[in-house]
Symmetry: C2
Subunit: 225 residues, 2 copies
DNA sequence: TGACAATTAAAACAAGTGTTTTAAACGTAT
DNA sequence: ATACGTTTAAAACACTTGTTTTAATTGTCA
């Protein structure tokens, strides 16, 4: 009604509104597909505001991406550090490491359940995008985190070669990202055995699956030829 | 040189050239990113030829997608059928089922090794695209195949609930697609432990990992809370 | 050779892209 | 109230997108 004046108590500032709208649109439709007009229309601001606050569309993408990914990775590292501190010098249990690696991302979905289940799809999409269009800053953020987890896993599973640890951690990340971004595919495939609101169960299911995969014998056995 | 006339013995027809160029570009850069001009320039044909032969860009996408995905899924189903026929009525080994599910896709990469390792990225990307832009025809193609494999796995692992089988198969698909599309990420992450030409080892690594995951105990145990 | 269909080529189409420019409105401190 | 820097708004920017139109070319059969 009183649109002539802006109340700065309730009405979020333009910058924040752009970030929120962009986050939701990017998550559901991808970076390239969403246009600045879609974002600014949803946010109720002018098109030029994006370039004013973020320099370019790419700048907005990096900001949106970082806002979602950074706290998740920080949380993952902290959980791992805490567990290692508590264990003294001893190797951690595999399931404990995997829990730290997987929980923060999946938990974020559960927390944003009341709103759209949209937030985390972004983080998933962030790693499934093609190499060139992924900001380098974000990629390195994942890279150093991955190294820490692989080191912990190699310590817990000394009979595995380093290459095998990397392989299996890579598989685990793939399973996680796929279950984050493609949950509807699972719901549709399972014909009611898995429902849409079962996303919260993904964590325990995934930890159990990945732990089994890591504790399997060396790869030479099964494959033949 | 003698570009005035076309030799129809060596020079592939326009339609085929478009398909080939589109396949490579789609695989490396994604569907939305690649423009018709890029495709037709690479193919050395006129822009209008795409709409002439395929009706629209979407029509071209479906054709390219089907050409890659269909033979792979046929091969997967045939391997599963052959194995079940050989086993009579008995349940198959888990590793055998997984081998049938994973081999055709990964093998396609090895076969196209002399050319670009590009072909199969398409199939991977095909399932990691967002729901709405994925052709329904292709999705159903995967869906019925998935059902067959989940049924075989449920028979081999009767102590698992149906939901658990779906979950774990979903994880396996995620691991496969991620290793198909993001092999460079693994190479970079592993710092030389896994090299770029190790893509062929993915099959045995993946079968071993997924088999371990499927044979793990029920999910209730590990997750806590 | 002449006629008819299939194919290719060039050009224009309307619509949408990210970005920039220009000017107006705003809040704040002098 | 005046002036100043910040923020918003509208319009135009040059460019690319997928698609269509129109015309020229090709191949084939009568």
């Amino acid at each position: 009604m009183s649109a002539t004046q802006k109340e700065n108590s309730e009405a979020t500032e333009v910058r924040a509104r752009i970030l929120e709208a962009a986050e939701q649109l990017f998550a559901t439709h991808g970076f390239d597909t969403v246009s600045l007009r879609q974002i600014t229309t949803k946010a109720g601001v002018n098109v030029a505001a994006v370039n004013y606050y973020f320099g370019s569309k790419a700048g907005l993408e990096v900001e949106v991406l970082g806002r979602v990914v950074r706290p998740i990775n920080e949380s993952r590292l902290q959980m791992l550090n805490d567990a290692e501190k508590e264990a003294g010098g001893r190797a951690l249990e595999v399931e404990c490491i995997l829990h730290a690696a997987l929980m923060p991302a999946i938990q974020t979905i559960k927390e944003s359940e009341h709103s759209d289940p949209v937030v985390l799809k972004l983080a998933g999409r962030c790693m499934s995008e093609t190499g060139e269009e992924m900001p380098v800053a974000i990629k390195k953020l994942f890279n150093q985190t991955d190294h820490r987890f692989c080191a912990a896993l190699a310590k817990a599973l000394p009979h595995l070669s380093k290459a095998e640890v990397f392989w299996r951690f890579h598989f685990t990340m793939g399973a996680m990202l796929y279950s984050l971004t493609q949950h509807e595919t699972l719901v549709m495939m399972s014909d009611g055995e898995v429902t849409a609101d079962d996303a919260g169960k993904a964590l325990q299911q995934l930890v159990a699956f990945a732990a089994g995969g890591f504790c399997a014998e060396n790869a030479c056995k099964g494959g033949g030829q």
